[in-house]
């Protein structure tokens, strides 16, 4: 297991280096004078010179690349053109909101997706299976940004059951400790804060969870169908084991490997889906911040956040591979 882990970690290094290089080239994709594009046509020469020096655009490409790698080693991923504050500092204040949203969506999609997939696989050809197949097909076909708007229209505009935007009501008092509102509410024993946060989180988490839920359900159903055809399942039945024991202890345990991989790979979707979801629900996370930076042409933020999100994605994929290797001993010996 240790050799497998070391090998996978070493294989990740060139991928990370490649990611860094692509992100570095991002600024150079901008057609024309990048400084002029960033500051606009009316910027004076002094401002243009300052921004060129700040971004290193007045240096040869290889010097810029060297400086970029050096600054990354110091955890400096650039400064906002608008606020002149470090991108990392600004991101840290917004990360908890996105993590709270993404984890909630991952929890919903995993629980509902796995349960639905198991029920569909065990009851193949019956109503639960048909329902699960239709649901998962619709789930991967519905655009997440449209689903978000429909949820707002139904639950906020028509029924007035849930709020449509923000993380908390404007009148709710909140003293951040961890930055995660629901955790802070539990720590502080503030039930009003907890339920206010929960009500605001519900619609965006539901919207964001739909596609991963559908994908997880499809994969779980497919994996269960394959495992349920195995000889050892027939043996377990002939031994007189109850169907529930067979399903959970034998079938699902062996079907869980591809399901774990699928769930892990949904993190990438959750990170990019957060940009759309946070924009629709005015959720104060990094996704909405990146989108606003694009509109404001604050490209250092877009560049820095692209790097952070890509690195998270690579690390999560590595963790999924390692978990897969831990669950399936055969992987270690390849």
């Amino acid at each position: 297991m240790l050799r497998f882990t070391i090998r996978r970690v070493i294989e990740t290094i060139p991928v990370l280096l490649g990611v860094v290089s692509i992100v570095f080239m991002f600024i150079h994709l901008i057609p024309g004078d990048a400084a002029l594009v960033l500051l606009g046509e009316r910027a004076n020469e002094a401002s243009l010179t300052r921004i060129r020096a700040q971004l290193g655009l007045d240096q040869p490409l290889y010097v810029q690349y060297g400086h970029y790698l050096g600054s990354l080693a110091r955890l400096d991923i650039g400064k906002s053109v608008r606020t002149n504050r470090p991108v990392l500092d600004e991101a840290m204040g917004r990360f908890p909101a996105t993590i709270e949203l993404a984890l909630s969506a991952l929890l919903i999609s995993s629980v509902v997706g796995v349960t639905g997939g198991i029920v569909a696989g065990v009851g193949r050809g019956r109503m639960p299976d048909h329902f699960a197949r239709v649901f998962s097909l619709l789930g991967v076909s519905i655009p997440i940004f449209w689903l978000g708007l429909v949820l707002i229209w139904v639950f906020a505009v028509q029924l007035h059951w849930l709020p449509s935007d923000g993380r908390l009501a404007a009148t709710t008092k909140y003293a951040p400790q961890t930055g995660f509102v629901m955790i802070d509410a539990l720590i502080q024993g503030n039930s009003r804060l907890f339920f206010d946060a929960l009500s605001h989180l519900t619609l965006p988490a539901l919207a964001l969870s739909t596609v991963p839920m559908a994908v997880t359900m499809r994969m779980t159903r497919s994996a269960m169908l394959e495992v349920l055809r195995a000889d050892y399942i027939r043996t377990a039945r002939s031994k007189g084991l109850r169907e529930r024991v067979i399903t959970v202890r034998h079938a699902f345990k062996n079907a869980s490997l591809p399901v774990v991989t699928t769930i892990g790979l949904q993190v990438g979707f959750l990170l990019s889906g957060a940009i759309l979801t946070e924009t629709i629900f005015s959720w104060p996370g990094i996704g909405r911040w990146v989108f606003e930076s694009i509109l404001n042409r604050d490209y250092p933020i877009v560049q820095g956040m692209s790097l952070i999100i890509a690195v998270i994605f690579v690390v999560v994929n590595l963790i999924v591979d390692l978990v897969y290797g831990a669950l399936d001993p055969r992987i270690n010996y390849k």
């Binding site: 097909l137 997440i144 940004f145 429909v150 759309l276 890509a310």
Partner: protein
């Protein structure tokens, strides 16, 4: 063809029975025709594509025509899907928007499959350092979540339909490259490749005239499913204001406009979203059916 003419009595012959020769492709076609879900998907696709092509004939109004006195009107006999905030007919805009979305989706996938198939087949056939370099490059691109990469490309190049097409197409290249590489790796050891080599065929000829045509099946299936994804990606970029610019009737941009009027004109949001969903559902249903129909052949 197999012909049989059994003798049934003295001097009598039964009518000649000619059976069509069965090939994997005819079997796949028969399976596809029996798949009701795939047929429904094909029907949806055919309808959406036909409506998009026939938009000038079917549309009841000019999609760019503004009638400010009739803004935010509900669906009626005059405006089948209602009007938007500038008094434009939503139904007509959806029809013309279909042209944009289908064009972007299909063109982006053609770009992705062409580049991806080329890279993947070269990587799979050449092997060695060529395979390593191409595979690592594809892994690096795949390290970025697709939508984020597309947003970053369009953000750098500037909003617009052409950059949307470029971004969505480029983002899909690694998927097709990996698929093609897998196909080529399994095909290059086959007997027909060995035979072609023995006959003196060059590597280029073997790759592009023998291996590539036989390895296209999984690519075709993935491309069909990929068009669905490309349409959603393009609509997402349009929703964020990075796609086709106003006043173009792009579905994603129509959702952004409709978002501001959920309270008093929800139709401006509902119908464009339904159009996206129906189109994507059609491609997904048909693509799933195609995969199931071709699956036994792929296993061969």
């Amino acid at each position: 063809m197999t012909a049989m003419a059994p003798v049934t009595g003295v001097g009598m012959r039964a009518p000649l029975v000619v059976r069509k020769r069965r090939t994997p492709w005819t079997d796949a076609w028969a399976r596809l025709r029996r798949d009701q879900a795939a047929l429904v998907g094909f029907g949806l696709l055919f309808t959406m594509i036909l409506l998009a092509i026939a938009a000038p004939l079917v549309a009841t109004h000019d999609p760019l025509d503004q009638e400010l006195l009739k803004r935010l009107k509900p669906p009626s006999a005059e405006f089948w899907f209602g009007t938007d905030d500038l008094g434009r007919d939503v139904f007509s805009r959806i029809l013309y928007g279909g042209r944009i979305s289908l064009r972007v989706g299909i063109t982006a996938v053609i770009m992705g499959t062409t580049i991806g198939a080329f890279l993947g087949s070269v990587a799979g056939y050449a092997g060695g350092w060529v395979d390593s370099v191409i595979s690592r490059a594809m892994e690096i691109v795949l390290a970025f979540p697709g939508t984020l990469l597309a947003i970053a490309v369009v953000a750098a190049r500037g909003p617009g339909l052409e950059n949307t097409l470029l971004a969505v197409g480029l983002v899909s290249v690694p998927v097709y490259a990996r698929l093609m590489r897998g196909s080529v790796l399994s095909l290059r050891e086959r007997e027909f490749v060995t035979a072609a080599r023995c006959l003196g065929a060059s590597d280029r000829r073997i790759l592009f005239q023998h291996i590539l045509p036989n390895g296209l099946t999984p690519l075709i299936v993935q491309a069909t499913l990929g068009i669905a994804g490309a349409i959603v990606e393009a609509a997402a970029l349009g929703f964020l204001g990075l796609g086709a610019q106003p006043p173009a009737p792009e579905w994603g941009a129509m959702l952004t406009d409709g978002r501001n009027f959920l309270l008093n004109a929800p139709w401006a949001m509902i119908f464009p979203g339904l159009a996206i969903m129906m189109t994507v559902l059609g491609f997904n249903l048909f693509g799933d059916g195609l995969r199931d129909a071709l699956d036994p052949q792929m296993k061969q």
